[in-house]
């Protein structure tokens, strides 16, 4: 074993890429999922069919929460501007896709590139400001983005919302049902969202694990010390801020086209707080954390709602059904506190039995 492999092996499990076996299992599950949703039925009428939409929302949230995790978890910079970046992504997607009439791919690329540009400009304070000052400055960015979103919406779409037609697949893909190439059903959306999310995860994972990611951790832990090791904290901070904004903007564009109609209320600070739930529960600083957290965040309301309605003995207490939403929010709140207190690694750090760890690549 040479030095490099030794170093690679000695990295803690959560920083290693998932093993080949782990990837194979994950891919098989991901490919089987949309077919299973349509066919499988679970006891006590678990709402399997609704999982298709939930999964699509989770796929979009993975991109946004992953971007947030890159900035907060890995780089240690808290931002409340990510809802604002998503709003600007939606604006760019609406402008390119709906007003200029370009394809979905063009709209999404524009969202990403636009987010990169916006992130670079508004990230400039991140070079100067640290910790609490940076966090607070991002609230200003958030409100500026939402303000511009509203101006754009009123100028081009009126007071209701920014709305999107169903996007169409390009002809060269060859997919069509009759003449219908629109991406309209959850099933079709899934096959569009999955590759995009996987690609984003791959890029963000490599950013986290590579030299760049280690630079982020060094700057996070002490930026003055990192500069003694030849890193440029200013450039590192600005780069990660811009990249995180770009992925958030992409998630915003993607989410807006998927949902079909978005307004100012779609981009409150609460969106960022939801991301906070996702990355704390899933695990700070890893892409796996964002994935597991998004799964938790979107599955919990479905499971709890089903529990209160269908599963004895809970179905006897109508109070639980009436307050399903509050129970979910409360559970998330308590989960954040408990996880930060007792399980700082989140779901991603759960070791599991030896077989699971071997599949994941934590034991080699």
């Amino acid at each position: 074993m040479n030095e490099a492999t030794h170093l690679l092996r000695s990295r803690p499990g959560h920083l290693r890429p998932t093993s080949v076996a782990g990837r194979a299992v994950s891919f098989a599950v991901l490919i089987a999922f949309p077919f299973a949703v349509a066919r499988v039925s679970l006891p006590m009428s678990f709402p399997v069919a609704s999982l298709a939409t939930v999964m699509n929302l989770a796929l979009i949230a993975i991109v946004g929460a992953g971007a947030f995790n890159l900035l907060v978890g890995t780089a240690g910079q808290f931002s409340l501007a990510h809802a604002g970046f998503m709003a600007s992504g939606a604006v760019i997607a609406a402008w390119v896709g709906e007003i200029l009439g370009r394809s979905l791919a063009a709209a999404l690329v524009a969202s990403f590139v636009g987010g990169l540009a916006i992130g670079t400009v508004v990230g400039l304070p991140s070079v100067r400001l640290r910790g609490v000052y940076l966090l607070l400055s991002t609230i200003g960015v958030h409100f500026a983005c939402v303000f511009l979103f509203k101006k754009f919406q009123i100028a081009n779409f009126g007071y209701g919302s920014v709305y999107f037609e169903y996007p169409e697949l390009p002809t060269w893909t060859g997919f069509a049902v009759g003449d219908d190439r629109t991406i309209s059903s959850p099933f079709r959306w899934y096959w569009v969202l999955l590759p995009i999310t996987l690609a984003c995860c791959w890029v963000m994972g490599n950013l986290t694990r590579g030299a760049f990611g280690r630079g982020l951790v060094a700057v996070r832990d002490r930026d003055l010390s990192a500069s003694l090791y030849g890193l440029n904290p200013a450039v590192t901070k600005l780069t990660v801020f811009a990249l995180s904004a770009a992925f958030a903007s992409l998630a915003g564009g993607l989410g807006a086209v998927f949902v079909g109609a978005v307004s100012e209320e779609s981009y409150t600070i609460d969106v960022v707080l939801d991301f906070a739930v996702i990355i704390v529960v899933g695990g700070l600083g890893t892409v796996r954390g964002a994935v597991l957290g998004a799964g938790f965040f979107y599955l919990t309301p479905v499971v709890l709602d089903w529990l209160w309605r269908r599963v004895p003995p809970f179905d006897r207490w109508s109070m639980l059904q009436d307050h399903s939403n509050e129970l979910t929010v409360g559970l998330f709140g308590v989960a954040i506190v408990v996880i930060l207190l007792f399980f700082p690694g989140g779901l991603a750090a759960i070791r599991g039995p030896g077989l699971l760890r071997r599949v994941r690549g934590e034991i080699s």
Binding site: V72, G76, Y133, G140, V141, F143, I336, V337, L340
Partner: protein, 291 residues
């Protein structure tokens, strides 16, 4: 001119409320290093509990204010002793995330108890107003401004004249030295949380008299503590109140002269500019950092 006077009085009242929550925010940030994201949720608790106390229990304004202040204060101390105590000294963003969790839990309880339907605003303060230069100024605004001034005055007495206040100052300027001479940090930190959450509740109760309607959107006012605290200086209590007044006034003038959509933009935009030019704010002291 009458528009100006009306906006000025309304802005001062709103600013006093922002100042009150900003003082609580700055107090716990300075003492325990925790960014209190839940300040707005506690304001909502104060407003809703106040509405129950005044409408259902029929208490007067003073009685309900005293009840909210003590009840919320006890809640704040309990929150510190049960949860926050374990997070003192941990990284800034861990603490921020913890408060996000606390905020969600509090919101869930408020939603459960009071639902999402708006309630009528409170009217336990004297109705009507008086005229200045042709504009009517509401008594409600006057009372709120007076309570804000009272808060600042009581703070300055507390920090300069009382044993606890002096100990707290010692603790925030040098934790180890203060502990060395016998200051008990957890007791004092619990007191700061008690005061901060109590004031947030009181601010909520006051706001319940001037809000358009009582609903969950009160919680979003908690965010106004941030520009108020930054503009005044994040480690200055006096500055927090001045910053609050400044944000309240600028919001009222922006909404009155430019249009409602400029309301958020102006306060938070000002904060952004202050952060770029003078991050320590108007009354704050700059941070020194060492390797």
């Amino acid at each position: 001119m009458d528009l100006f006077v009306r906006l000025f009085a309304g802005g001062l009242a709103l600013g006093a409320i922002y100042g009150a929550i900003a003082i609580g925010f700055v107090l716990v940030f300075r003492a325990t290093g925790v960014l209190n994201f839940a300040q707005g949720e506690f304001m909502a608790v104060g407003a809703f509990v106040g509405s129950t106390l005044t409408t259902t229990a029929g208490l007067s304004f003073l009685a309900s204010a005293a009840a909210v202040l003590t009840g919320m204060g006890a809640l704040g101390a309990a929150l510190y002793l049960v949860v926050i105590r374990h997070f003192v000294g941990r990284s800034l963003f861990t603490n921020a995330l913890v408060m996000v969790g606390v905020a969600m839990a509090v919101r869930a309880v408020v939603l459960w108890r009071y639902g999402s339907v708006g309630r009528p605003t409170l009217s336990t303060l004297p109705e009507g107003g008086f005229d200045i230069a042709g504009a009517s100024v509401q008594w409600v605004s006057v009372v709120i401004i007076a309570v804000g001034a009272l808060m600042v005055a009581s703070f300055s007495v507390f920090f300069r004249r009382t044993q606890t206040g002096l100990q707290l100052q010692a603790l925030t300027s040098d934790l180890h030295a203060a502990v060395g001479v016998g200051v008990r940090p957890h007791r004092l930190f619990a007191i700061t949380w008690c005061v901060a959450i109590g004031f947030a509740g009181l601010a909520g109760l006051l706001y319940a008299h001037m809000a358009p309607t009582l609903d969950q959107s009160i919680a979003s006012l908690g965010l106004r503590a941030f520009p108020a605290a930054v503009i005044g200086g994040i480690n200055s209590l006096f500055g927090a109140m001045i910053g609050g007044l400044f944000v309240g006034l600028s919001e009222q003038f922006a909404a009155g002269y430019l249009g409602g959509e400029y309301r958020d933009l102006l306060g938070f935009g000002l904060m952004f500019i202050v952060l770029l030019i003078r991050p320590q704010g108007i009354f704050g002291t700059p941070e020194v950092s060492r390797v």
